[in-house]
Amino acid sequence: MQGIFQQYDTGPFFDEMFGSDGQVRPHYVQLLQKFEELDSGEFDRKRVLAEKSYLNQGITFTVYSGDEGTERIMPFDLIPRIIPGDEWACIERGLTQRLLALNLFLRDIYHEQKILTDGIIPAELIRSARHFRPELVGVDIPHDIYIHICGTDLIRGADGRYLVLEDNGRCPSGVSYLLENRQAMKRVFPQLFNRYAVRPVGRYPQELLASLRHVAPHGNPDPTVVVLSPGIYNSAYFEHSFLARAMGIEIVVGHDLVIENSRVFMKTTKGLKKVDVIYRRIDDDFLDPKVFRKDSVLGVPGIVGAYRAGNVTLANALGTGVADDKAVYYYVPAMIKYYLGEEPVLPNVETYLSAVEDDRKFILAHLPELVVKAANESGGYGMMIGPHASKAEIAKFRDAINADPRGYIAQPVVQLSRSPCFVDGRVEGRHIDLRPYILSGEKTTIIPGGLTRVAMRKGSLVVNSSQGGGSKDTWVLDEREGAC
């Protein structure tokens, strides 16, 4: 290999671009040819160009040190991740199946709870889930769709098989990066798109709006849809306004809304205007100080009343957090069999649940080899990576598991696949995952690809942007789809 790929080493990992024999995988051949023509100076100029466009557009998050906030962009890597068409068809089928099962599950536990009485999932496990909302049992919502927008994180292990790491059924973020990454790539490497038939992603906002309109209360054919944001100081505000703009709808904050007669209205220059569907980017806990956290200043007092009365649709619905619970994740394959009578297309990562006695014994005996996660946390928090943990840390988690077996799961360390990334003037392998965005509306729609997140620090397995992660453009190739 030449140019910036000289001395590239795949290491003992599954590499997205090169096989274990060091040969470039067929779908990356053209890309490699093009990139070998560039020297590291040229490549760096392209990188600066891309970063500048993010900065000018204000696609930034704020890092506070002292009382001065500095705006930073999320690191963007210019080497795209490429997914062949047949591989994607398989992922798509698996994700569709999974979201269907999750929505049936949520419908069930907020109504008859058959899956509990049939003994598939222990009732106690649901009752003790932090994000389960017993007060919402019996509330009907349009078309029984609970998770309208799902971000399901996929990883690839050493054999390259795709595995589901977790589901995000509350307020998954990051889709704006996906869309902007594509724009940036087109700007910086327009010629590459002539060599590849890359499936476009730009329709996402329209698909999202269609999904939101589909679930309007009382079948209203022309609903008023808004995005509810915590405001400009929220780290995802760029995304909220980006999506509102791309859908051509209003972005509102809590104090723009008022409740009258169990209906939601926004304050406009011409008086009050009724709101039908709210794409809310505020967690349940902060949504209604009358029902959930009393100290929330972001929310709208009384909105849950309007929701229960069926006069407003919230997307995602209230109470979906229970499906994100890592202990519930353990049961998703069982759910798929129970509700759909199918085998899961996409397997979970091998998981042990400390609430199950045999599993717990195994976990406690193998702590230094396992990744332990708190069931109710997300974003890379409340986690211990056994092989990297100190004795004290391991002891702390052992006590925690014994004290609260319900609260933890454990998984073997999965060495996430790596993708070549441009770092400090040369190309090196970095671990990545994939977050596809699945929309549930009249039909299930998945934006081709998803957000590929990159653990930019050498050797790191943590891809979360809150912990120094970056991202890269993800291409799904438009080719004849093989059997899945």
């Binding site: 400009i232 980006f242 723009d256 406009t268």
Partner: protein
């Protein structure tokens, strides 16, 4: 349109206009100073003090700086973060408001504003300023003009745009009245006469601060007099920075928002604005000078504040009274 959005559009536009006015006043003042042979400390003070008085920032300036110098005043009005009226602060506030309404304004508007903000915060801006303040202010005004052009060319001229107009013309009317008032604060050097060389140079600076020099000369046959300049900047019906033009445009935008005919009013802001407008339509410069120019401008500024309060109450904060 959401009340909060209307409010943000209004302020976004006001802050941009304020940044432009400040840049222009500073540009003209530097040039004015260069016209004088005597660059002694007294002269320098005499030149920069009125700027602070005009912007009503003198107290805050004294908290930060010990003595008055051109550099200190320029830094204070341009880059000082502690000065909420500085150019940097104005652009920062404009951007905050633009962020709130990003989905309402066009991407092109946002990017122009954001680029300007990033530039003002960069070291490149500081060195450009040190190299040539005049060029720095010119290019700043250019960027701000681009923003106006981009706004008119890329945004739907609907309610949001009308609120931008309201903010722009309210601020511009205010700033024209302040620039005219500079003359009130500048003392003529000892031995200089009204209508003399220095006096005329100062009136010309007032014109240039409003980009009005060329327009004025076309109708004045080369005669620059205090009455002529004041008449032009207060009462001209089609120069885009005259008080009358600004108030008329403000009145038009207010009526476009409410949909009410221009001969009537449907809220307090329209009533107050209509009164000011007819006042400017039917007064003449003799009346203004017999009231006293400074008093007239002062009253006008107060009336603009009343209009601002009334419109905010009508459109933006109407539910907050409960």
């Amino acid at each position: 349109m959401l009340s909060r959005v209307a409010d943000a559009c209004f302020w976004l536009s006001r802050y941009m206009e304020r940044a432009e006015a400040n840049a222009r006043i500073l540009d003209v003042n530097i040039q004015l100073l260069l016209d004088f042979e005597d660059q002694g400390e007294g002269t320098v003070q005499q030149h920069w003090l009125p700027i602070l008085a005009t912007l009503e920032d003198q107290e805050r300036f004294n908290e930060i700086h010990e003595g008055i110098s051109g550099d200190a005043v320029m830094a204070f009005v341009t880059f000082e973060k502690k000065n909420p009226h500085s150019i940097l602060s104005s652009v920062t506030f404009a951007r905050e408001n633009a962020r709130m309404v990003r989905e309402q304004i066009s991407s092109e508007m946002w990017e122009q504003l954001n680029r300007l903000y990033l530039h003002l915060n960069s070291s490149a801006a500081r060195s450009a300023f040190i190299d040539s303040p005049i060029d720095f202010y010119r290019s700043l005004v250019d960027s701000l003009h681009s923003f106006q052009g981009i706004t008119d060319a890329t945004m739907t001229h609907g309610e949001g745009w009308q609120f931008l107009q309201v903010g722009k013309f309210l601020e511009r009317a205010d700033s024209t009245s302040r620039v005219l008032d500079i003359k009130y604060h500048i003392l003529l050097p000892f031995g200089e006469q009204v209508g003399g060389n220095v006096d005329i140079t100062q009136w010309m600076a007032v014109l240039r601060s409003c980009s009005a020099m060329e327009a004025f000369l076309k109708i004045s046959r080369g005669q620059v007099t205090s009455w002529g300049v004041a008449e032009f900047l207060i009462l001209h019906d089609s120069f885009p920075r005259s008080l009358r033009f600004c108030v008329d445009s403000l009145d038009l935008a207010l009526h476009q928002i409410s949909g009410c005919g221009r001969a009537h009013f449907s809220n307090e802001a329209e009533r107050l604005c209509g009164m000011l407008r007819s006042n400017l339509d039917y007064t003449n410069i003799e009346t203004v000078f017999s009231t006293g120019l400074h008093q007239f401008l002062d009253q006008t500024q107060l009336r603009l504040i009343e209009i601002c309060d009334a419109l905010v109450k009508t459109y933006c904060r109407w539910l907050d009274e409960e």
